[in-house]
């Protein structure tokens, strides 16, 4: 008998004020740009200066989120740490490259190189809490975070671990934004976040953030909900999408009607939002729908913000007005489905249930 998997705590640093767990999107920050930076907590409240002096922003955001999650779960340590990140601490990577070029490979120092290793966040969290357990980092575009979930679920279901810290983190960095704007992956003109889906322009609003969660096979007072299933697909034709979703639900003994809320990864890119339209207008046209990237912005691990949102919805039994996508009311958000993709690739489905 496989063990169940629970979300026992959350932690978030995002483009909204989410770093304190007692509030749930009560104070919304409207962005009007082509990028969104996080609302920074006071990092000094979480990280001693001696430890902070070499930390890249990604590590700082992750330290705050992971500390918040560990604290809420009442844990000092975990059995495994699994982090997803599209690009790791890309800010330091880019500084190291520019230093190589500008200084003609002379007088380079190691710190930025070390932080450039994609697993620097998972490694530093382990170092910080003294966790000698399993330590993985997934770097697979928009399914980096979902890869963590799949890995953690195997460990928890098979009782290889009892508590696993999973997270998604990405930084917003100038060179990366500038290059990706050249190829129309990022919008060229600002869009107000409330109007994200009406922009009708190419590209996304690029952002950053760090969401961490303690997943466990033991339910406790702090539990937000249950993680039922995760599926990722490297490619999906539009014609395959609804069939794939139906099959995924069927594999979990669920029908479309059993879904109380679907959270879609709409990011305002006129070319690729049509994937979400297929589910919104067809399969889930009678289901309550929500979205989150007008609040979080887009980044490789932005789906971890949707996962955070879903967790909060399950815990508080409420869906904030600001994330509503349609007018269908949600009596109780018992079963929630998340669907995300990026530029027609890296598709993921995540199924959650209140408990």
């Amino acid at each position: 008998m496989k063990k169940r998997v629970y979300i026992n705590s959350v932690g978030s640093v995002s483009a909204q004020k989410t770093f304190e767990n007692d509030a749930f999107l009560t104070e919304i920050t409207t962005h009007n740009d082509t990028t969104m930076s996080v609302i920074n907590p006071n990092y000094k409240d979480y990280i001693p200066p001696a430890a902070a002096r070499r930390m890249a922003k990604g590590i700082k955001m992750s330290t705050v989120s992971s500390k918040t999650a560990l604290e809420e779960a009442g844990l000092d340590n975990v059995d495994a740490i699994i982090v997803g990140t599209g690009l790791g601490c890309i800010g330091d990577s880019e500084k190291f490259i520019s230093a190589i070029i500008d200084n003609k490979e002379q007088f380079l120092t190691p710190t930025r190189f070390i932080q450039s290793s994609h697993n620097t966040v998972s490694g530093q969290i382990a170092l910080g809490i003294g966790c000698k357990g399993y330590n993985y980092t997934y770097v697979n575009g928009a399914t980096s975070f979902e890869s963590c979930l799949i890995d953690a679920m195997i460990q928890l279901q098979l009782e290889e671990a009892q508590n696993v810290l999973v997270g998604g983190v990405d930084e917003l960095v100038a060179h990366h934004v500038d290059t990706h704007r050249l190829i129309d992956h990022i919008k060229k003109t600002p869009v107000e976040s409330t109007q994200l889906l009406a922009s009708k322009t190419e590209g996304c609003v690029m952002a950053e953030g760090a969401q961490f969660f303690v997943l466990s096979n033991e339910k406790q007072a702090s539990t937000y909900g249950e993680l039922l299933a995760v599926g990722t697909y490297n490619s999906l034709e539009k014609a395959q999408l609804t069939g794939t979703v139906s099959k995924f639900l069927a594999e979990n003994q669920l029908s479309v009607d059993a879904i109380d809320l679907v959270i879609l990864g709409y990011n305002g890119d006129v070319t690729f939002d049509s994937y979400y339209d297929l589910l919104a207008n067809e399969l889930f046209s009678n289901t309550a729908q929500a979205y989150s990237k007008h609040l979080s912005g887009e980044y490789d691990t932005a789906s971890s913000f949707a996962f955070w949102l879903a967790s909060k919805v399950m815990r508080t039994n409420s869906l904030p007005e600001v994330v509503h996508l349609n007018k269908v009311a949600v009596p109780t958000p018992k079963t929630i489905l998340l669907y995300n993709q990026y530029r027609g690739e890296y598709h993921s489905l995540v199924l959650l249930r209140q408990c």
């Binding site: 399993y134 980096s144 098979l158 500038d178 190829i183």
Partner: protein, 399 residues
């Protein structure tokens, strides 16, 4: 219970050969792949040695039917090795079973990113490389090249244990029933980024690397790609597959000691090896050969040596590091050495630890320095990376 994880195909490209057969020939004839660097114009070219694949990007692209400067070298190497593995496994329809792809990389498309870092803003000639900086990009290219669709694919980046961890995840996903078949491995090319990065850590040797030698001066960076096809018992039975060897055990642990260095006593390495033995259900005595991480840095070899002494209680089995042949190929190390472990099992042979002369002062461990014929049933392979990441894999002849 006790599902066997069968290895049914392998592919590799490294400084000592462009396929599995060439690699094996080099290993048994002591042909090393360490040289001065030729493909990258770096100011350090006279003070470092590398394990460079002699084939140029253009030749690799021609082999894959691509036009010049299409992809990062990492992707080129990756696709060549992955194709060899899939062909070797005799797979005709990749989507016939629930198939996944798990690849490890550290630099990904950094070779192109560093080349066009400023030029991107001057002209659009290299804009197709912009997305190559994403570590998952090489994995995506492998999936497309192999025709893998609507499937589980992911990329692992845990520094120098990346591909070892890809193998471990692949084995776990077959064992847990999530996949029937999975292509696992990794790819990393040489880049100015890693050359200069390791240079700042002052752990690059200016001559041939000498694993486990008292006078070792550091590592030689290398480049390679290596992939293995793992299949479940059911697929093996259904397809009547020839099994090359089995993934018997695996363990990953964190040293939680330092961002880059290993702890003095190799705590993480000990935990990883012990867990791998536990998963395999084997006692340390069952291990016939250890393919060590053995990077030839002062820190690694001391820490790993001590860890082996702890795990094997002072009776360390025959061991060697093959990095004197290939250089340290970073993310790929675990996969290329997995291929070598399987070759060792198939041929009952231990590959020599080249360039070893003087035993280390701290312990009396002596690596095998000559090619040794010996009946092998169980091989343990270590891979350790930055961030304290330690992985041990166990390969066996029998399930």
């Amino acid at each position: 219970m006790g599902k066997g994880i069968a290895i049914t195909g392998m592919g590799v490209i490294s400084a000592i050969g462009n396929n599995v057969e060439e690699n094996y020939e080099s290993l048994i004839s002591k042909k090393i792949g360490i040289s001065k660097i030729t493909h990258i114009d770096t100011v350090h070219k006279n003070d470092i040695m590398v394990g460079e694949i002699s084939t140029t990007n253009e030749a690799l692209e021609a082999q894959l039917g691509l036009s010049p400067n299409s992809w990062s070298r990492t992707s080129l190497l990756a696709v060549i090795a992955a194709k060899e593995a899939v062909n070797h496994a005799g797979i005709t329809d990749l989507n016939a079973f629930k198939t996944g792809l798990i690849s490890g990389t550290t630099v990904g498309g950094m070779d192109k990113s560093e080349q066009y870092f400023y030029e991107y803003f001057e002209n659009n000639k290299a804009w197709h490389h912009i997305n190559g900086l994403h570590a998952g990009d090489s994995t995506k290219k492998i999936a497309i090249a192999l025709g893998l669709e609507s499937s589980f694919t992911t990329t692992i980046s845990t520094a120098c244990s990346s591909a070892a961890n890809a193998i471990m995840l692949g084995a776990r996903m077959i064992k847990s029933g999530q996949l029937d078949r999975v292509i696992v491995g990794g790819a990393d090319c040489l880049s100015k980024f890693t050359i200069n990065g390791f240079k700042t850590l002052m752990i690059l040797s200016d001559t041939y690397n000498t694993p486990f030698d008292d006078h070792r001066k550091g590592l030689n960076l290398g480049e390679s790609a290596a992939y293995l096809v793992l299949e479940s018992d059911e697929v093996v039975a259904k397809e009547n597959k020839k099994v090359l060897a089995y993934v018997k055990g695996y363990g990953n642990a964190n040293d939680a000691f330092h961002q880059t260095a290993s702890s003095d006593n190799g705590d993480g390495a000990v935990l990883a090896m012990e867990q791998a033995l536990k998963v395999a259900g084997l006692s340390p005595k069952a291990v016939d050969y250890v393919n060590a991480h053995g990077t030839a840095t002062p820190n690694n070899d001391l820490s790993e040596g001590r860890a082996m002494n702890r795990v094997f209680d002072g009776r360390v089995p025959d061991f060697s590091s093959t990095k004197a042949f290939t250089g340290h190929t970073l993310a790929t190390a675990g996969a290329i050495e997995a291929v070598y472990a399987v070759l060792a099992l198939q041929n009952n042979v231990i590959f020599p630890n080249l360039n070893f002369k003087t035993p280390m002062q701290e312990f009396d461990l002596l690596p095998e320095t000559e090619l040794k014929q010996k009946e092998l049933n169980v091989v343990l392979s270590n891979s350790f990376g930055f961030g304290g990441n330690c992985t041990a894999l166990i390969f066996s002849k029998e399930a």
